[in-house]
């Protein structure tokens, strides 16, 4: 069988393309609806936080719905690629987020009064740091861009509204929430 180096290179390129397509499909099918859900939660909870002095309960409900919804969505995602080990991965991902956000809330409680502009930016950038880290580890470029983009929006908001935490909450809800929502919709449609 005679194969030129160029033909061999083309064949390997085709296998890489196919492999990436398969990996992205199952990843997008699982992450897309979760991002849409969190986008909606941000759109609702951040502006609501601006309206109430004691707003801890808003995020307790919002995060509760978010975690329960993410677990449900990952379990029910109808993907054409089935993997027996994905249950283990799913539960690890959910535990990672639960521990990570508990850590963030703990330090936010210690270092900054709840509801301050610093607290808002801290928790948002911490979550986005995790997005970037996951993007780098799992080779998901869209997560890196999303994390970096929302971090930039949070820092811009902080620069503009650091003395008006209520306005910053609305800013974060609208810009960050829409960014999550749009990315979720985009990758869900791409996975079809």
């Amino acid at each position: 069988m005679e194969v030129t180096p160029q033909e061999a290179k083309d064949m390997l390129g085709q296998t890489d393309t196919m492999a990436a397509l398969i990996r992205n499909h199952s990843m997008y099918r699982r992450i897309g609806p979760t991002l849409i859900l969190w986008g909606v939660i941000w759109l609702v909870c951040f502006p609501l936080t601006a309206l109430f002095t004691h707003s801890g309960w808003i995020w307790l409900i919002g995060d509760g719905i978010g975690f329960a919804g993410s677990a449900f969505s990952m379990r029910r995602s109808n993907t054409s690629v089935r993997c027996k080990s994905s249950n283990v991965v799913r539960s690890r991902v959910l535990w990672f987020w639960a521990v990570f956000l508990a850590y963030g809330c703990f330090w936010m409680y210690l270092l900054a009064p709840a509801g301050s502009a610093r607290a808002v930016v801290f928790i948002v950038t911490l979550a986005m740091f995790a997005y970037v880290a996951i993007g780098l580890l799992a080779r998901m470029t869209f997560m890196i861009w999303l994390g970096a983009g929302v971090t930039l929006l949070a820092m811009t908001g902080f620069g503009l509204f650091q003395n008006q935490p209520q306005v910053l909450n609305v800013w974060m809800g609208v810009t960050g929430g829409l960014a999550l929502l749009a990315t979720g919709l985009f990758i869900t449609l791409r996975a079809r």
């Binding site: 296998t15 993997c83 080990s85």
Partner: protein
């Protein structure tokens, strides 16, 4: 040095094996999904799958999702090994084209 595998060498079959291996060691891929991604007809894909099944490189499992019959495909251990050897042979050709093409 690994040899090129004549069964996997055909472009569609190479892509089928790449897809099944990329899905994961314990994963299955739906027939219709694969057909859509490869741009094949049912018959064309079916004949390639037959060749791979005969070589024991892949296995097929039929199931029902609701009332709809679905065929799931997965790579066998023999298939994984054959694909990895084939890829290694292609990489060898890129590295040293003259030596790699001197195969029986």
């Amino acid at each position: 040095m690994s040899d090129l595998d004549e069964i996997i060498h055909q472009p569609i079959r190479l892509k089928i094996m790449a897809a099944l291996l990329a899905a994961g060691a314990d994963a299955e891929v739906e027939f219709t999904f694969l057909r859509g991604r490869l741009g094949c007809t049912d018959g064309n894909l079916g004949s390639h799958l037959d060749k791979l099944t005969t070589a024991r490189y892949i296995s097929a499992r039929k199931a029902f999702v609701g009332r709809k019959p679905v065929t799931y495909l997965s790579a066998t251990r023999i298939g994984r090994r054959a694909f990895e050897d084939h890829v290694a042979a292609l990489q060898e050709i890129i590295r040293s084209p003259i030596a790699a093409n001197r195969q029986p």
